[in-house]
Subunit: 343 residues, 2 copies
Amino acid sequence: MNLKELARTLGLSPTTVSRALNGYPEVSSRTREKVQAAAALHGYVPNHQAQRLATGQTKAIGHVLSLAQNDMINPIFGDFIAGAGEAYAELGYDMVVSVAREGNEEEAYRTLVARNRVDGVVLHSPTATDARIALLAELDIPFVVHGVAPGVSSPYSWLDINNFGAFERATKLLIDLGHERIALLNGPKGMSFATDRLAGFTQAMNKAELPIEPGHILHASMTEPYGFDSTTELMARPDAPTAFLSSSMMTTIGVYRALGQLGLEIGRDVSLVTHDDMLSFLPNSGDVPQFTCTRSSVRRAGHRVVEMLISQITEKTEIPMTELWEADLVLGRSTGPAPGHRP
Amino acid sequence: MNLKELARTLGLSPTTVSRALNGYPEVSSRTREKVQAAAALHGYVPNHQAQRLATGQTKAIGHVLSLAQNDMINPIFGDFIAGAGEAYAELGYDMVVSVAREGNEEEAYRTLVARNRVDGVVLHSPTATDARIALLAELDIPFVVHGVAPGVSSPYSWLDINNFGAFERATKLLIDLGHERIALLNGPKGMSFATDRLAGFTQAMNKAELPIEPGHILHASMTEPYGFDSTTELMARPDAPTAFLSSSMMTTIGVYRALGQLGLEIGRDVSLVTHDDMLSFLPNSGDVPQFTCTRSSVRRAGHRVVEMLISQITEKTEIPMTELWEADLVLGRSTGPAPGHRP
DNA sequence: TTGAAAGCGTTACCAT
DNA sequence: ATGGTAACGCTTTCAA
């Protein structure tokens, strides 16, 4: 059943029926009710393609998943998408996900826009000077970045957590506990969140006038073996750290595994603070979570990023919109005074 | 630039230009070349919405992500989507992801189909008698299930790994090593893959005439704490198992963590076989992987499921299409003879 | 081999 | 408050 048929059934014009269904004010309430009843009765649902063509809006948002760095799928992707998907469902938008191979990315965005496939785009995991931001600005399509690109000077919308502040506070917590040799198992070099976290760490160490051992700062994709291997190596050094900062729960579990293997007790022999994205399959919950952490829900971020983007599209909200979320610093059971330290 | 303008530029009709661009045979090769050159020159890209409306095909496939069981996002989702996305990119399809809250799922599918939003659907994580299969059949839309629903008698297309065979073989491996008390940390009850794995385990135990301790069989969402907590509890029992079968790498890491905490050496004191979906952020690779595993790439499965679905749509391939993949059984460093067992 | 014109199912403008 | 009709940008049938 299409609009014309439904209109004929009702003895009305397609125009009126369309207006009644789309909530236009000029239609009489009696007519509107009749139309709505008939639509429900016949199971009429407007054809999506036709609506899109007629209005010029696609009511769809694009997410480009790039398989750049050694084909790593970011484990946070699923939770971010879940949060975004909730917002899309609430706001009546579709989510179009495309996968681009390295180098193919620019083209993925270009065709998405050229074909008028989406009304906006969400940008994931920016680097400091991410070229995609300039590209999307040039293509003149609304977009919101999940994360921030400090090397980009032109204005753009983003939502990020305060990575600098979170890691500065986490580092200070460890310093206050008497730790002086602290290792940072950071995310991949170039990712802006990793840069910010390193800066926060550095600032706290500098303020406390503690030397930073370059070998204690590592960058890599945040896998479990990364945590395991690097911890094993670091603990074998003569200047082994007494505390670890880890950029993700996944890596943290590797750290935990390595320390366990070495017979060390976490929170006593070695302290550990992790960032916790609150991924559903990696819970670190409870009143006193196992791991002391800086915590912020990536799922909630997904939800909010979509709200921001769609409000830009529909309400012509002033851009740029930016939000910097503080991460909670939650004390768990993985931190304690440095060995030999009297408070 | 749209088709009409491009046609005018060329002094041709829109019809001819359309035919030239879409590879219709009746257009002269000279004309075709001219048209293609002009299209490239002016950066003409056909409008997606208009093409969809005119052809009636959407060139899009839907994935409904249900947030049913305690809002768990399946960690394999990202890798599956990555594999699927590669296939979509190759075949020129879009992937539309919608998130449905529990109970809202049927409606999600119904509107997806009623609005003619997608040409087909991929079904994830079926239960034994999954109602969505009947629904999609009733809606008369092509679909392929990732996994199998043994309780559904009507024919449908699916791709699955041989969960029964994989876990039977894994169990037999442990039995051959002398293990008699084997714990199974299975996935959530009702999921068909979990049912199959339990059946494979049971069969191997029965064949060896070994008793199955009901308390050794657990079902839950496959998180890391699930592995940790259940291992800790199981090892405290008087009839503690000497070997573990784990349904996912995530859970396995929890098992590993618990055993490490108990001071037990894996592969000597306790043996462990896991299923490994080859998730990119949870690698278990190397010539001799850390964990002995049944292994099959969920990313490759995503790729193949999409190929199957699209071949059904475009080539009217005979349905049902079914594929049962054998999982590799890969020996790693987590299995060894049962303590006190002389081969 | 090419073109004119009629769809595809809506929305939106202009009348009434 | 309602209706006629022209878009929207393409594909496809029918003619030439």
